[in-house]
Symmetry: D2
């Protein structure tokens, strides 16, 4: 695959920083940005405790090969807009601090690509999965006007909401969802590190994840909403979720039962998902997978162990599309929670901003 | 706890046999019957391959302490009504053979307490969870008349159906279920031994269990149906299920979303489940737990690892009872799939038959 | 089994307290003491953070049924000898605080049954597994004289050292160990709660446990040492250990390769372990298992899942006793790390003290 | 990395076949050969049961993306030298049939690269890890003369023996091993598919793998032996192994304690492993990793989850190199059991044969 050239008239890559770089999602950002064709990772920022240390020493690298030596040797700096020079920052900050810090960065003129929940449901903050609702990025203008910021905050969605929304977007666009029941089986990496104690989850299921059900229910409607004249109108269907933690490392599996305005057959639903292209401007972006959505015919897929890395973790796999006796359709979706559902989603958001010129001022 | 005396005028225990005694469920039967106050395990029967061997040698004991030496030394005999002398047999046979074998035993005058799916949905065969629909045992009379059998077949339900039905029975009786969505997370022991290969399930979820969803949907309606004049009329609500396999040893966890004729609040639903007594004749039976149904207030329970052995595996634990935005209620139920959902359920069925005099002729 | 009567002339049970009662080992103490025939759990003490709360609210109960309501309602008090009234305390304190706190209690006249590592290797502090070296309790006298304490500290050993020492004691006593290689596979509960993050151990092995190898090597020699004239002389053989963490909930499995002064055959080693009785005074104590050591003939045992609860967690199971081509014998031992290897071991130590009159002054 | 050109004067790739292509190791062969620069996978052979079906239908693909459509569409043929046309065959056959079938292929003039144990210890059959003892391939000449075969059998070693031998080869060559203690923790994929039942291994350790310890002990000595004048003289040190199964998907972890003729310090051992190049002819082969052996300084590595894919599964990672109090050194090695320890090892053997001209006649 040829690497897409840096968009616009820009010479050289955009300098970027990661906030909260030592945690689980922060590490994923560093991995995805270490060799990015458009972005140059110039700074890693984290809490006081890590600031001043070398990144490689401050970080307990959770998986795969460690990052390049140059990145490991970088000094961790503070999450302070006066200290971070990069005009674009990816935030893997914890919700307890993300609110204040991200706002300070946006005020200081930075583009903040946030993985935190704090601003997701603000009416003037884009909550974006590029293929699903890339046009919602236009909210940035209102955000800046309204708040008087020279920078901006763009958020990606909760990991389960992301997986479900990617599977449902084509169906909603064509058939109109009326009712949606979700039951998730979520990987432990969704809880960060150290996250879920092994004594709680080895050989066990925990049928509860704090705050997860409301997030899933609300974000879904904003993601599938429509943008017009500086405003996003949320989708109007009803959503009901059960969220569960299971002993899986990566990959959220979501059982869905769906009622529609217009009744699709399983075959037409499959055809609709398979032929879906998503928001056109996302095609060909560096982190964009060849297929954002794949429908499998195997009777027992998708499975986290076998499908989570489809499209380098950016593809959502759907299977078991079948008729439902109460509503209309049942199906199962699976996606990588820390790639598509977290760091990868934010990077793709930044790429979409870059390709449409929004970062030219950065 | 005092042991309930053998009911009726009977002197001594009833002699019983286990068919398919070497498998996972068979072993559980042997464990439960090894020291039973009313039943004496006099024979263990299994396939040709095992017949003639000592039970202890023919069996790969899957958990806990092995059975008493006397049981281990017993010779395995064939699953043949001409060879088995006991008038009461517990069947842990695989569905591929259970149909013919169980029929032969019933024809030959034996009481067959079956764990297999083959006869469950026959109109004249009781499908029974004692606390839920113990009165359905009256179907035995029709069965004998219609089929000309001197024996009888009584079945227990699919393991997930059992757990769900126990949780739902009090609510259905009081509020009338209209719609039911289920999403299960089922333990590997539900697939028997060797069952699920470790390469398929370690760190994984399989969103498919062959034939499980129809079983769960159909059996639920028969279990919650009503008996009158020699006939069971199934409940009429709609059921829709997702069934999933998770890396848990024992215990099926079931997320449920429920719509009712009369809308209960979460509080009234909890009160209804907590005050439910179930079919009165089951109280005090040897295998009957003090509480067939327990509702926990903990926000993150029930969990298989922590709740599966409640009531020695015979209690179903319900938690997270909460309002639903689409239908009326959401909640999670958990039960032991090889005890309450298999061998323990059959033994309790036999105890109910014993206590109501049905076994007096055996 | 009949309950052994309270020893000596004492009327009524001894009042006891648990220090560090909210943690994983603390909970196990509470479970074992909740219904103890000789000890009455009158106080639960923990850190500042918990003090003042009800025990049931301060504690995230990790497994099984929660403790009796009376215990749950007890107010947590501070780990301060001025606040704790019970003359006997079981310490599940973390090593970071155990040193000072336990010393303060001993100084204040309390009997401290400690599960912490801090005092284990002190020459005047008994490090005891009752069946192995119950006679070492006599060190208490020296301890009191030397330190001027009216109370005393008695320690139990590291969990892996306990399992290994129980298996090796009969062999060392008869054949004299010269060289010992150990390779452990240790359960996550050994690291307490929250302990090992699931992201570190799901589907993984960690070939390192901080400080564990030296503990195992040193404590083993003290445990198998000899008491004479107020002094324990450590055993003199060489020990070398690898310690590993595996995704198992409870039960440490230890592969051992052993060289002896006098060469036993596998048969004579098995016979020696099977006929071993251990320190006579421990037989019949309330927590003493019928068999402290069991040797299995099954080719693939012991296994944590299947053998960890032998003797209610107080029995060590040995298997695969076979000749070694380099040294003399190879074998595998398994024991419950939080029962025999922690709380249960301390309780048994206390029972031995009670039965030999040492607690009469308490 | 540039692809090494096909060696010798050969035009085009060598046609190759896989025997036992549908099983776990067979699938790994197919994956590794699907896009190989020197070998063209032209045939897939398996048991009667699969013969005639399309490969994609006969195979339950165990992990990752399925093979290219062209491979999936290939018809499975019989494991019969009269049916298989390729002159080079990779055998993933089960030991129960490998003996006869592999011999028939060798007799019929085929080069058999075998993963089965049957011929490994035959004096005239090379048992080869290219970097360790690539020169042993010279045994082929004797084999052909002695057996009158126009083809040949070359074997790779048991998966644990392979991992251990790669770590030990540099140390043995420099310091001379005298005594070796091994304790393994082996992944479930080593047992093939369906292999280990989940009920046996979830949350468990099985301290026994049938026949594994003798294989490990004997093969190690042949692997580290020396070739001279048509004969391999085994190394003469003593080996003693414990082999254990753990709930890990891929990656065998091996704890080793080693005594040497000349005592290395940990530092000199590390330096020796780090500077080791292995048998020179293996460098630059297509499947040869940049570093066959890596030594990590991290205190808690190697770990299967984090290190198994080093060098695309062909690198063995060693860690925790430290002094031993009984012998001389302790360390831990980890390698990918189905890549380096199985299919990848065989492919590397074939590449070495290709590069030294041995396949020119094929």
């Amino acid at each position: 695959m040829t690497t897409p050239p840096i968009p616009g008239k820009r010479k050289g890559k955009w300098p970027v920083a990661v906030l909260g770089a030592t945690g689980a999602v922060g590490q994923m950002f560093v991995r995805l940005l270490a060799d990015h064709p458009w972005f140059e990772l110039v700074e890693v920022a984290a809490s006081e405790r890590s600031a001043g240390k070398k990144y490689g020493e401050a970080t307990r690298w959770l998986e795969g090969a460690p990052p390049p030596q140059a990145v490991q040797n970088r000094r961790v700096i503070a999450c302070d807009p006066g200290v971070v020079s990069a005009p674009i920052v990816f935030s893997a900050l914890d919700a307890t601090v993300a609110g204040e810090v991200e706002m300070a960065f946006a005020k200081a003129g930075k583009f903040v690509l946030s993985n935190a929940k704090n601003f997701r449901m603000e009416p003037d903050v884009p909550l974006v999965i590029p293929e699903v609702n890339g046009d919602h990025l236009a909210l940035i203008e209102c955000q800046r006007q309204r708040r008087g910021w020279s920078g901006a905050i763009v958020t990606n969605a909760n990991c389960s909401a992301t997986v479900a929304a990617l599977a449902l977007a084509p169906l909603h666009q064509k058939f109109g969802i009326r009712q949606l029941f979700l039951s998730t089986m979520q990987a432990v990496s969704g809880a960060g590190y150290p996250g879920v104690p092994s004594l709680d989850i080895l050989g066990n299921v925990i049928p509860y994840i704090a705050d997860e059900e409301p997030k899933l229910e609300h974000e879904m409607l904003k993601l599938l909403g429509t943008y017009e004249d500086g405003e996003v109108t949320s989708a109007m269907f009803k959503v009901s979720a059960h969220t569960n933690r299971v002993p899986v490392e990566h990959g959220h599996t979501i059982c869905m039962t769906i009622g529609f305005e217009e009744k699709p057959t399983p075959e037409s639903a499959i055809e609709t998902m398979r032929s879906w292209q998503g928001f056109p401007a996302t095609r060909g972006l560096p982190t964009s997978p060849e297929h954002p959505l794949v429908v499998t015919d195997a009777p027992d897929r998708p499975q986290p162990k076998r499908d989570v890395n489809a499209g380098d973790g950016m593809t959502v796999t759907v299977g078991r599309v079948r008729r439902d006796v109460v509503l209309d359709l049942r199906m199962v979706a699976l996606g990588h929670n820390t790639v598509r559902g977290a760091a990868g989603g934010s990077v793709l958001n930044a790429e979409l901003l870059a390709s449409n010129g929004a970062l030219d001022s950065a």
